[in-house]
């Protein structure tokens, strides 16, 4: 058996992951035709590259179909209940930084903290007859965060894309989304709450706790880690 390493199958996240491993003596590359999701590994023995969508990597790690995987820490926390029991963090890769934040219209001059959001939500519900809607695709992370901080009278509405536009389109009053520079938020007249950072995410190398770790996989893993640590 080989040690399976799951890596995002396209875009900057893939390129940066290849760069990160390459700089540490492990050559990852796409093999075969341009559009085929097959990869090659050089520099260590017994490691197989598996190219996957970044969003599927948490599930594959949980199921143990891959031994190692690179994906955003936000993905793992959102998609895996008790993520610490399912996977272990091996290394933060220093790219793919993005913050999951709670943002409200910049015109809400009275709302800058979660405390304000909670009070505004109470008043909003009384006046409008429904809870203050927060659009997001990070339901678990946002719900846990708001519960921890005692925010009430809100409801999460699902938004899988263009979340920053939901307020203007009247399908939500606030949003919780990933941002790296805040530019899209500003362009959509939104601002981040002062204490509204739910999670600071970055690309992270995870190890599956659920995969089969036989002699061959363990040997390959040790070899890989030695090479990476130089």
């Amino acid at each position: 058996m080989t040690l399976k390493l799951g890596v995002p199958s396209k875009g900057r996240l893939m390129d940066k992951t290849f760069d990160w491993f390459g700089a540490r003596g492990v050559g990852l590359s796409l093999s075969g035709a341009d559009r085929e999701y097959a990869g090659a590994v050089e520099g260590v023995a017994g490691v197989e590259l598996v190219l996957l969508s970044a969003g599927e990597i948490p599930r594959e790690l949980e199921a143990g179909r891959i031994h190692l995987g690179v994906t955003g820490s936000d993905m793992v926390r959102e998609r895996l209940a008790h993520w610490e029991d399912r996977v272990a963090e091996l290394a933060q890769l220093g790219f793919g930084q993005a913050d999951l934040v709670i943002a409200v219209p910049a015109a809400w001059v009275d709302v800058d903290t979660l405390d304000d959001l909670d009070a505004a939500a109470a008043a909003f519900r009384r006046l409008h007859g429904h809870r203050l809607r927060i659009a997001t695709k990070y339901h678990r992370l946002v719900r846990e965060f708001l519960k921890l901080h005692g925010v009430a009278d809100y409801v999460l509405v699902d938004s899988q894309g263009a979340t920053e536009g939901t307020v203007k389109n009247l399908t939500a009053e606030a949003i919780a989304d990933i941002t790296s520079t805040g530019e899209t938020l500003r362009a959509n007249h939104l601002k981040v709450l002062a204490d509204g950072v739910v999670h600071r995410s970055q690309a992270t190398l995870f190890r599956s706790r659920g995969a089969v770790w036989g002699e061959a996989e363990t040997a390959a893993f040790n070899g890989l880690m030695e090479t990476l640590e130089g």
Binding site: A107, V109, D112, F124, E173
Partner: protein, 365 residues
């Protein structure tokens, strides 16, 4: 938790149902699928993490019932009887995500009294019945009274707005504490708010560079809250003495008669709780009349504040002290506020509780 053989569980369930029926209760059987909207309205977004949600093409979002209380209240309100007693038995469904090895579906047998005549007597009737049924298991009973804390908040010498904010978070102790610290001047004003208030005081247009108004929350709503913040900043802090009285209530852990004495002392300085304290006294008398030894009964001032948002008076739970790994064997309380939230005709005083037959079986073994 060990699996309970089906037949033994059925027999235990039947035993409890028969006992409750003997109290003049009517057997009801609410549907497993409940409209999600009602539950979401009552419990908020938290319920989504705790209940199984499913979808029906016509009825919309539905939940597997996370408890019986809501459908039983709805059934009672839809009916014509002013006072009634109900018994029910069946499964409830709770998502268990928090690591504990607890079943996500389990049986409950419940008993509820809807009666406005004598609340203390109804409270005592439910508790005494549960005590009797559970007596062989030698459980520890914990009790509390959310009504005392609610009345205490109402009695603070501060603005209605602050009282409303505190009342709203009685069931979220952490936010309650944060608010109390803010209102008591013990935690600093957030810098963003201080800056806003300074600009308001200087007569500046706070909307000048804020960007366009987008979304459903209107400029009027924002202005109203800015005004409220300015008014609140001018409000004197809640006195240290009053904060201490609240701390005394929330930190209270005593045997019931001692707790009553302590609360009577608090009522001297905070007369708003007198009514609630006398209701507690009447309840203890009613319990004694039913043969409950109140001198061994624990009373906790914060009991019921974390999980049971709809309880607003008497609350109780029965615990197996030798088995801290088990959830409470039985829980219950008074939920007039729930009947007020669900009914259009105002509150119907109601009190009740549930027993988990799988646990009584396991402990009896």
């Amino acid at each position: 938790m060990t699996a309970t053989p089906g037949r033994a569980l059925e027999a235990e369930q039947a035993r409890l149902v028969v006992r409750f029926l003997a109290e003049g209760a009517e057997l009801v059987d609410p549907p497993v699928l409940q409209p999600a909207e009602t539950l979401l309205d009552l419990y908020g977004e938290d319920i989504r993490a705790r209940a199984y949600v499913t979808r029906d093409p016509l009825a919309g979002e539905l939940m597997l019932r996370p408890d019986f209380t809501v459908p039983v209240v709805q059934m009672h309100i839809a009916g014509t009887a002013a006072s009634a007693r109900y018994v029910y038995a069946g499964k409830v469904f709770r998502v268990q995500e928090q690591g504990v090895e607890r079943p996500s579906e389990y049986d409950q047998v419940g008993f509820e009294i809807f009666d406005s005549a004598d609340p203390a007597a109804s409270d005592a009737a439910v508790f005494a019945l549960f005590s009797e049924v559970l007596a062989p298991l030698r459980l520890r009973a914990a009790t509390g009274d959310i009504g005392v804390l609610m009345a205490a908040v109402q009695g603070l010498s501060t603005s209605e707005r602050r009282k409303a904010a505190l009342s709203r978070h009685i069931w979220r102790p952490r936010r309650f504490r944060a608010l109390l610290d803010r209102f008591g001047g013990r935690s600093p004003v957030p810098p963003t708010r201080a800056a806003l208030l300074q600009r308001v005081a200087a007569g500046e247009d706070v909307f000048a560079e804020a960007g366009p108004i987008i979304g459903q929350r209107s400029r009027g709503e924002i202005e109203a809250r800015v005004e409220a913040l300015a008014a609140d900043a001018a409000e004197p802090p809640v006195s240290a003495g009053e904060v201490e009285l609240l701390d005394e209530i929330t930190g209270l852990r005593e045997k019931a008669p001692n707790a009553l004495e302590r609360l009577r002392d608090v009522a001297v300085d905070l007369p708003s709780i007198s009514g609630a304290v006398e209701r507690l006294a009447a309840r203890l008398d009613a319990l004694t009349a039913r043969g409950v030894d109140v001198h061994t009964l624990d009373f906790e001032g914060s009991y019921g504040r974390t999980q049971m948002e709809y309880y607003d008076g008497f609350v109780f739970g029965f615990y197996a002290e030798t088995r801290p790994d088990l959830p409470p064997v039985a829980t219950g309380g008074r939920y007039d506020a729930l009947t007020r939230a669900l009914g259009e005709a105002g509150a119907v005083p109601a009190v009740g509780g549930v027993i988990r037959p799988a646990l009584t079986l396991e402990l009896a073994r």
